[in-house]
């Protein structure tokens, strides 16, 4: 057994087939689907907008997770820790200390990066199930602290009255404004991840994903790039956490529980691990589908868990695998 979580490395390493019309269509398809879902929510507004806004926040979180797990082929079950740090920093600083939105978000980001640096250094030396369990422990410790540290986090009660998203006097308060702000954030995230993947750093990640020994032999500083990938992933996690609390206006520890981890992995696998579009499509599909069966709300975690197991067994490459399969049929 190998320890690599990514099943699409071959695809990540290969240059995309250019020129063929079908190839273009297959590459554009996931983005078109995403745009249609967001567009629909913009037009309809109301509850649909709330669901899609939630999905867009998760798209950012899962994109971050994808840098570490998809592009670099590492394992982390503890990314919820960074979302919790970002979310709580935003919530506490804006309500208790009346900071502005951006400084609070920045403080959360700095806190999450510092935490990722401190825990990442010893943790990332671990491999396999040791790494899995250590990261899971980090996520759960953060959750427990959020529950127990009453004086700051108000425990299970949570913090309410968090101000909405806004910059320099302009506030996004209606569903549509929130959707537009979040869409811009997701587009920026996607562009950033795509840029990272194409860069020297991204190639180092891909090398590391393929084989640590080979990467080391090529002069890639394995430990440093693993940590860098972890930090990038933590950064997006923290931003997603901050956005979440400002959009919802409320935060409690339950937001960052094991549920978040299972949900984000389901999204990552539905969309396709290791691809740029995968996290966005996965987040939208996984968030929107259960809403169409609203009678089954109690069954949500059950559905996510079952779907995840079935995906892992039968379709480990997700929807993105479907699109590339279409593309591959035509390309030589």
């Amino acid at each position: 057994m190998t320890s690599s979580p990514s099943t699409t490395l071959r695809e990540a390493a290969r240059a995309p087939a250019r020129g063929s019309l079908r190839g273009h269509a297959a590459r554009a398809a996931p983005w078109l689907i995403a745009a249609c879902v967001v567009g629909y929510a913009l037009v309809v507004g109301g509850y649909a907008a709330t669901v899609v806004a939630f999905a867009l926040i998760y798209a950012i979180f899962v994109s971050g997770l994808n840098i570490f797990m998809g592009l670099t082929a590492q394992v982390s079950f503890g990314q919820s820790a960074f979302a919790a740090i970002g979310g709580y920093a935003s919530a506490v600083l804006t309500t208790e200390y009346e900071w502005g939105l951006l400084p609070a978000m920045g403080a959360g980001l700095a806190g999450a990066l510092a935490f990722a640096f401190v825990v990442g250094y010893p943790t990332l030396r671990l491999k396999g199930h040791y790494l899995s369990m250590a990261t899971l422990a980090i996520g759960l410790i953060t959750y427990e602290i959020a529950v127990q540290w009453d004086s700051v986090t108000q425990g299970y009660l949570g913090i309410s009255g968090i101000p909405p998203l806004g910059i320099a006097g302009y506030e996004a308060t209606t569903d549509r404004q929130i959707l537009i702000v979040l869409s811009v954030c997701v587009i920026a995230t996607v562009l950033a991840v795509a840029r990272i993947r194409r860069s020297r750093v991204g190639r180092a990640f891909a090398g590391l994903a393929g084989s640590e020994e080979a990467a080391r032999a090529l002069g890639i500083n394995v430990a440093r790039y693993k940590l860098l990938s972890f930090l990038l992933s933590a950064g997006f996690g923290s931003l997603a956490g901050s956005l979440f609390v400002h959009v919802v206006g409320y935060v409690s520890p339950e937001v960052f529980s094991l549920h978040m981890i299972i949900l984000s992995f389901t999204m990552l696998y539905v969309g396709g691990i290791g691809t740029i579009a995968g996290p966005v499509v996965g987040a939208l599909v996984v968030s929107v589908l259960p809403e169409t069966f609203r009678a089954f709300r109690d069954y949500q975690d059950l559905a996510y868990g079952t779907a995840l197991i079935l995906l892992l067994i039968f379709a480990p490459r997700g929807l993105a695998g479907l699109f590339t399969a279409i593309e591959e049929k035509r390309s030589p």
Partner: protein, 291 residues
Amino acid sequence: MDSALIGQSLVSGLGIGCVYGLIGIGFCVIYNASGIVNFAQGAFVMLGGMITHVLLVRGQLPYIAAIVLSVLVVALLGVVIERLVVRPLWKRNAPMFVMILATLAAQIVIERLTFLAVDDQPKTLPVFTDLPPIMVGGVAVNIQSLWIVAGSLAIVGLLALFFKGTRTGKAMRACAINREAAALQGIPVHGMLALAFGLSAGLGAIAGIMLTPTQYTAFNVGVPFAISGFIAAIIGGFGRPFGAFLGGLTLGVVQSVAILAFGAGLKTVVALSVLLLFLFVRPSGILGAAK
């Protein structure tokens, strides 16, 4: 802090430590047979107590019958999980991470099914024998703790006999040493994997049943137990069943002392910190990892 209080917490720590130890052994049995770390281990612990409770209260079965039936049902469920979730992935040579994620998802599925089938209220079981606690030098030792310690030691002894003395036990150990060589000797490796899942599910169920009278069980207690069991296995050196038992005792005692010092709220944080400490400083455990 008076010494009686410390003695008290050491006693309760040893009791819960035995339970962690049994869960840890469950991890090792599966790991040795397959190299898989089964993150659904906590579900078996939860189900042991829960199914016994349901049989006892709704089924009106005698206590002993409810316990035996519950252990058998959970062991069977272990085999079912191996068949439905683990086997297909194993055949496909799935990465270890995928296996961990799949078993973690199985844990969530079992949790939610339990929640839907029962409810979210904590459940408890009657103590095995309703006797007043024994006083040992100012320390009250409750009888259920004695049941836990004695029961765990008996199980560890039986397991030792099973692994050393029986043909099947020896075959499982052969799989642990080298699966391919074991297969070449005609040992049914797949069957051993199913057996390992059944065995460690049964162990988890017994641990859960013995512990429930002193605490409670609810649909969501599984994950913390799984993590404690995993920590026990790490402390003992992963893949060493008896090391895991010692690891469980160590963790139980450390945790009880920590509860005394910092309060019960932080017991999970303390346990997880012990885990991180071991992972960072000595990942091969006290006795050294099996492989």
